[in-house]
């Protein structure tokens, strides 16, 4: 008995240490970006010799330098990114959940092959798709529009897959009883499936938002100046003659804020167990 508790304590200690380490690994880079964005460039580049651990007072000077850039309108690029990512996430949530619902709850011809074909597209790296996609987009006359990067992955295969897996958990009996009560098929999706999927939708929203937020090569190719998203705008700061690290740090720090807000907003929705007790099998 005593030995068991001691073992437990050791395991718990190890567990906490591990979690703490992982947390540190995740938090330190973000903290560092924030600190660096408040320091003059030479202060954080010479970090090898004397490390600055606390924020300085240079944030606004760096920000001013960033805004003075001719070829990059960074504030505009934040707006571009936010707009694109939000519209994309909403649109994709609708499409993925509809697709997922269909694959989970309906029978139709070639269902399995179609599903696996969609799944298979996950193995294609974006780099491979950039050129064909660019051709497609330019033939649709959508180059340099927000739609150019919203539409291509609007029905995100990963999203469809995740939604399908989750929606399989919705008991058929629940849908049956709704049908008997006279619900239309769309109502089944909208009134029953969606509300029960809230937490997985929130999780998917984050995945989709991040996916769009981090896209680099495709937006670079398809968008022109003024429509650039954040990653592309940051890369504009790598000049031929000079790398503007201070401005890059400010830009990186600022670009975290929208992500942070999205997480803050969505975490309320990570509620589970709504389905518990909905039917009696």
């Amino acid at each position: 008995m005593r030995k068991q508790t001691r073992d437990e304590a050791i395991w718990r200690f190890l567990g906490y240490t591990f979690v703490l380490l992982v947390t540190l690994l995740m938090v330190v880079p973000i903290y560092w970006i924030i600190v660096a964005s408040t320091l003059p460039e030479q202060a954080f580049l010479s970090a090898g010799t004397d490390i600055q651990l606390f924020p300085g007072s240079n944030f606004f000077a760096n920000l001013e330098a960033l805004q003075a850039r001719e070829s990059v309108d960074f504030i505009q690029s934040i707006w571009n990114s936010v707009f694109i990512a939000i519209v994309y996430t909403l649109l994709s949530l609708v499409l993925c959940s509809m697709g997922g619902f269909a694959f989970a709850k309906y029978e139709f011809r070639f269902k399995e092959p179609i599903f696996y074909a969609i799944l298979a597209t996950l193995t294609l790296p974006i780099q491979l798709l950039v050129i064909p996609l660019f051709l497609l987009i330019s033939q649709m006359g959508l180059t340099n529009s927000y739609w150019a990067i919203i539409l291509p992955w609007a029905a995100n295969p990963l999203g469809i897959f995740l939604m399908r897996q989750n929606m399989k958990q919705i008991p058929d009996a629940l849908l049956e009883s709704a049908r008997i009560d006279g619900a239309t098929e769309f109502q089944l999706y909208y009134r029953i499936a969606l509300p029960t999927m809230k937490s997985s939708l929130a999780a998917l929203a984050i995945v989709l938002f991040l996916f769009q937020w981090n896209l680099f090569l495709f937006p670079l190719v398809v968008l022109n100046q003024g429509k650039y998203t954040i990653p592309v705008a940051i890369n504009e700061l790598v000049g031929a003659q000079r790398v503007y690290y201070d401005q890059i740090m400010v830009a990186a720090a600022l670009s975290i804020i929208p992500l942070f807000l999205v997480f803050l907003f969505l975490q309320r929705h990570f509620v589970s167990g709504i389905l518990a007790g909905s039917v009696k099998e």
């Binding site: 649709m140 529009s145 739609w147 031929a240």
Partner: protein, 466 residues
């Protein structure tokens, strides 16, 4: 333009209603500022969209509305930083002289490269003119998306005007894909005030050994040369080329472990061990600051770097001088190169646009006056030899305390050994940087470093070892 916009709108609305999000219509396509976007994008949006290969004879009814041997009225050029600004200088005189309008769009360097490469690969959306560094030539030509302008260069009779060393990377299988722009004959820039203060006599330095001896006179904390850990490769390449070293043999075998490369590695290591070097990341603001305060007193760099220093640390104007790079032995070659760009034409643009583009390129590059204009304003050192006869090269530079560095560089330029870049050049860069890091820190001997770098490149590229 209006026509293509209307088409654009219709398509967009279709897309929007399909997505059921018509409410967001206002946030879609904005107006496209550059005339060229309408030209190239409009071209691909129309019926003749799949002219992926040669857009040569395709006569799109675009803004120019012309075909055959006529020239389009406007084209777009893509470039970065100082190069873009230099092209801007040419815009007005060109318009006055030849009547065409060139819109220069400025990008970050790596952004522009990625974007241009994707667009020439996809066969649509590329500008007529783009800046290409010689380093990238092999990779860009490989895409098959550049226009062979060899015949036009022949017709114009300008080929012999350019420094012969420039053409190598720009030609392949008898075709020529670019017109040379500038090059970067290398000099050892140094802070004359710091040298004076500590009694260095750099003017009489002829060899690397003498250079190190002078450097040892500097106090601790002051370096005579920087070896940037992020760019050992850059220093190595300059020093290697000076010796006439080539990264690959004629048959394509990896040869960066050759006797010459080893000589360079030993030299770098010797300089480091003598304590005359610093190790600051290049192009950072610390790098510039150290030059500004004089704690790094020398900078081994291309002629164009004077312009960069002038722009970044103008306060030190007058305190700088420049000398030829030290030789390996008395009487040895002291000419090498760092950098250099060219202008290319995308194969996908219409004949009319390509003609306008070439006309502009010829006006800007094979032209003494324009080359001198860019040299004076932004320090881009012309590859066009007739320009060297100008007295602009004899004029003392204020930044260099009145020294006529231009003449020195003009003497160096024709003696620069030619060099080969291939699509595998990036592998060499990686290998040299990682192995030289170990060499500088003492984990590898110079011999081991070059051998292991060569092995690494051979392994990754499937090439033989020389």
């Amino acid at each position: 333009m209006t026509d293509s916009n209307r088409r654009l709108d219709r398509r967009r609305i279709l897309q929007l209603s399909a997505a059921g999000l018509a409410g967001l219509a206002g946030c879609g396509t904005g107006s496209q500022p550059a005339t060229d976007s309408s030209g190239s994008d409009g071209g691909s949006g129309g019926s003749g969209s799949s002219d992926g290969g040669s857009g040569g004879s395709s006569t799109e009814t675009s803004a120019d509305g012309s075909s055959g041997s006529q020239m389009a009225s406007s084209v777009t050029a893509w470039s970065w930083d100082v190069a873009a600004k230099s092209l801007d200088l040419i815009d007005d005189p060109y318009e006055e002289a030849n009547g065409g309008d060139v819109t220069v769009e400025q990008f970050g360097r790596s952004n522009m490269k990625d974007k241009f490469k994707s667009r020439i690969l996809s066969g649509s959306g590329a500008p007529a003119i783009a800046t290409m560094e010689s380093v990238d030539a092999a990779a860009w030509v490989d895409t098959g998306g550049l226009r062979d302008i060899g015949p036009w260069i022949e017709d114009a009779g300008v080929k012999d005007g350019f420094v012969s060393g420039k053409w190598g990377p720009l030609t392949k299988d008898g075709a020529t894909y670019a017109l040379p722009w500038d090059l970067g004959p290398v000099g050892m820039f140094y802070r004359n005030d710091v040298a004076d203060e500590h009694g260095l006599d750099l003017e009489s330095v002829e060899t690397w050994d003498q250079f190190i001896t002078e450097g040892e006179k500097l106090p601790d904390g002051t370096a005579l040369m920087n070896l940037p850990p992020n760019d050992y490769d850059g220093i190595w390449r300059m020093m290697f080329r000076q010796l006439g070293g080539l990264p690959f043999t004629d048959s394509g075998a990896v040869n960066i472990h050759s006797e010459k490369s080893l000589q360079v590695a030993r030299q770098m290591k010797r300089a480091h061990d003598a304590g005359i070097t610093s190790s600051v990341a290049s192009w950072s603001s610390e790098w510039f600051n150290r030059f500004a305060e004089g704690s790094i007193a020398g900078l081994y760099g291309g002629a164009w770097i004077e312009g960069t220093l002038k722009a970044e640390i103008g306060d030190t104007s007058g305190k700088w001088r420049v000398m030829k790079p030290p030789a390996y032995e008395s009487g040895g070659n002291r000419a090498t190169n760092w950098g250099g760009s060219n202008l290319v034409i995308a194969d996908q643009v219409s004949d009319a646009k390509a003609r306008r583009a070439f006309d502009y390129m010829q006006y800007a590059l094979a032209n003494e006056e324009m080359q001198l204009k860019m040299y004076r304003e932004y320090g881009l050192f012309p590859a066009y030899k007739p320009a060297y006869e100008s007295d602009a090269f004899d004029q003392g530079s204020e930044f260099l305390g009145g020294q006529a560095a231009g003449r020195m560089f003009a003497e160096i330029a024709p003696n620069i050994p030619s060099y080969t870049y291939t699509t595998d050049t990036p592998e060499i860069t990686k290998a040299i940087n990682s192995e030289f890091k170990k060499m500088i820190s003492g984990d590898l001997s110079p011999k081991e470093a070059v051998d292991s770098a060569a092995n690494q490149v051979a392994e990754r590229t499937g090439r033989e070892l020389a």
